[in-house]
């Protein structure tokens, strides 16, 4: 379960405070499928960084899977990201020199897991996203859709509490985008908690719950 209470984030530039998020309260239950929507400048990216433990809030409390993460230092946050968060980015962000298998296994390196076990889990994760036959390919040998599937497999391999996707279909054609959305739906059906950050209403429409941000505040929280 994910619980945010009174989360604020203020950026300070040239002595002037710019509030990016103000007093956010949000609870996400296990196995929810949620879209975080908003125009650019709405605080959506900041929200995603805080949810993903890439950044710390200026104030407020954040409980992730019964662990308070708001006050943690950078090293502890790295460990939380590694164990509890799986990221999917708009630009895939795969390592260009590594094969699909090595890309997927990468998060497990930081957990101190033996190479053979890493590969075994990476292979299983690739099979889960339908790429069992692409383990030896490098990113530049794969289509955009396949790359994003590799990225999803990498996000899943550590069995995270939260799968956090930032505009996952932003760089894909509409047909491939639909396939990726279907993949998220399938993972949700298998019990995975999924949060998609997007400005695209068409993508958000697939999610049972939609949270809209505007000027750093939650202005809408609807369940279908």
């Amino acid at each position: 379960m994910i619980e945010l209470r009174g989360i604020s984030k203020v950026y300070r530039l040239g002595g002037i405070d710019y509030p990016a998020l103000t007093d956010i309260d949000l609870t996400i239950e296990r196995n929810e499928f949620l879209a975080l929507i908003g125009a650019s400048g709405s605080g959506k990216s900041t929200m995603m960084n805080i949810l993903g433990c890439l950044d710390t809030p200026t104030s407020g409390r954040y409980r992730l899977d019964n662990e308070e993460v708001a006050g943690l230092d950078e090293e502890q946050l790295a460990s939380v990201r590694n164990r509890k968060i799986g990221f999917v980015f708009q630009n895939f962000y795969l390592m260009p020199r590594m094969t699909a298998l090595d890309n997927v296994a990468q998060p497990l390196i930081y957990r101190g897991i033996a190479p053979a076990i890493r590969r075994e889990h990476a292979r299983a994760a690739l099979a889960r996203v339908g790429l069992a036959d692409r383990t030896g390919h490098r990113p530049n040998e794969m289509s955009g859709g396949q790359r994003q599937r590799v990225a999803v497999a990498r996000a899943l391999v550590g069995q995270p509490e939260l799968l956090l996707a930032d505009e996952p279909t932003g760089n894909l054609d509409s047909r491939t985008a639909r396939e990726i959305i279907e993949l998220f739906k399938q993972l949700h059906a298998e019990g995975q908690t999924v949060v998609i950050v997007t400005h695209d209403p068409g993508v958000a429409a697939n999610c049972p719950r939609q949270v809209r941000l505007h000027d750093g505040r939650i202005v809408e929280d609807v369940r279908q």
Partner: protein, 422 residues
């Protein structure tokens, strides 16, 4: 598939091994991805290590060949030579040992053996059937064989009775035999030295070359023959070599010898010695000091060039960190701890430096062999293990020291800034 296998249960040392393994893999892949750049980055280290290995190999080769030449002459061998201070020499006064000094030592000093006097022959060319040969022509006694550990290849050496009866016999060095175009076994042939004829009784084993000097260009005749032969030299330059039986008594014997000869030469208490007592060690030590100094100076110069090489590595690594900011951001988003990123770039710098060191070492060896092959009479190079390990360790150290700055720059990147970097 069991979820429990993903719990971090490996021990700390096991985890470190996995991390190092992974860093080595990524370092090699990064180096392979930019082959030319990596090579240029290493160039400073390559040149530095190649030059140090080359010079050390040549110097050590020379010094080990010299040590070998002196193996027979241990620390227990002492030589007494006349010594003339510079100012006396300028006045035309030359000191000499006397042939009676040999007998003084023989009867007054205990615990020495192989007492061997040596004197240069008054004529230093020999001829045979129109061929002539030169070299070191000396008169000495039978015991030279034991002192120098030098034995005849064919025939025999000078004997005591040759000396006692001043026989006109000679033993040749291999080079002299060749120069005179004497047969392989020349015993019984006669060679002419000055106006006199000498019978060849033996040829000595070949000793090869030392520092470009042929050591086989010599001729040996009995000591007394050399003293009596010709009329030219009134005060021949005698030297006396002997071995001390008890190695612990060398210094003691040396003092006795000094006082015996001083008395024999009638020196007053405040007169300086007109002779020197040296051991073979003295020469080896002097030589070792020289080679040691050369090695140290070269090592110092090369240390500086390796430092420059290290700065080159640091420079490129800093560029590489900037280029790979995104990659670092991804690794951090996936949960890479600071120390892992640090380790990754440190190892990359070290791998660069060590590969450079190894290439430099091979190049240095090659260069040393090429140089010693191209220069005639140069002894073959020898590379001591300490130079190899030292060069490896030093390049690793260089990589580590100059990797610290780029590595900590990489490790300190904030994940969101690094991810956003275009």
């Amino acid at each position: 598939m069991n979820a429990n296998t993903l719990v971090e249960d490996a021990g700390a040392s096991r985890r470190l091994i996995y991390a190092i393994q992974e860093c080595l893999r990524s370092a090699l892949s990064a180096i392979r991805a930019h082959r030319l750049r990596s090579f240029l980055t290493m160039l400073g280290v390559i040149i530095g290590v190649a030059s140090v290995i080359c010079v050390i190999a040549l110097v050590q080769g020379m010094s080990s060949s010299i040590s070998q030449q002196f193996q027979g002459l241990g620390a227990t061998t002492l030589t007494v030579r006349a010594f003339t201070p510079q100012e006396d020499r300028l006045r035309g006064q030359i000191n000499r040992l006397r042939d009676t000094d040999v007998e003084e030592l023989r009867y007054r000093i205990d615990g020495i053996s192989n007492l061997t006097p040596m004197v240069p022959a008054p004529v230093a060319t020999a001829s045979y059937q129109g061929n002539s040969a030169g070299g070191q022509f000396i008169g000495t006694t039978a015991s030279l064989m034991d002192v120098q550990q030098l034995f005849p290849k064919s025939g025999r050496f000078i004997t005591q009775s040759d000396d006692a009866s001043r026989r006109r016999v000679v033993v040749l060095g291999e080079q002299v035999r060749k120069d005179l175009e004497l047969p392989e076994r020349p015993e019984g042939e006669f060679v002419q030295i000055g106006t006199e004829w000498f019978k060849v009784v033996g040829v000595m084993e070949s000793r090869g070359e030392l520092l470009g000097m042929n050591q086989d260009a010599f001729l040996i005749m009995p000591f007394q023959t050399a003293l009596a032969f010709g009329t030219a030299v009134a005060r021949p330059d005698i030297s006396i070599t002997f071995t001390v039986d008890d190695p612990d008594m060398v210094e003691n014997v040396k003092q006795q010898v000094i006082s015996v000869i001083r008395r024999a030469h009638g020196l007053e208490a405040d007169d300086p010695d007109d002779f020197r007592v040296d051991s073979a060690d003295t020469f080896i030590n002097t030589f070792n000091t020289i080679t040691g100094t050369i090695t140290a100076v070269v090592a110092g110069i090369v240390g500086i060039s390796l430092l420059v090489g290290g700065i080159g590595i640091m420079n490129i690594m800093l560029v590489s960190v900037t280029e790979r900011t995104r990659e670092i951001g991804i690794a951090k988003a996936l949960g890479a701890p600071r120390r892992f990123i640090m380790l990754q770039f440190l190892i990359e710098a070290m791998v660069l430096a060590v590969i450079g060191g190894l290439i430099g070492m091979i190049l240095g060896f090659g260069l040393a062999y090429a140089i010693s092959g191209a220069i005639p009479n140069m002894p073959p190079p020898a590379v001591p293990w300490w130079a190899v390990t030292g060069a490896c360790l030093f390049s690793m150290l260089i990589g580590m020291v100059f990797g610290i700055l780029p590595a900590s720059k990489a490790a300190n990147l904030a994940p969101i800034d690094a991810l956003r970097y275009e």
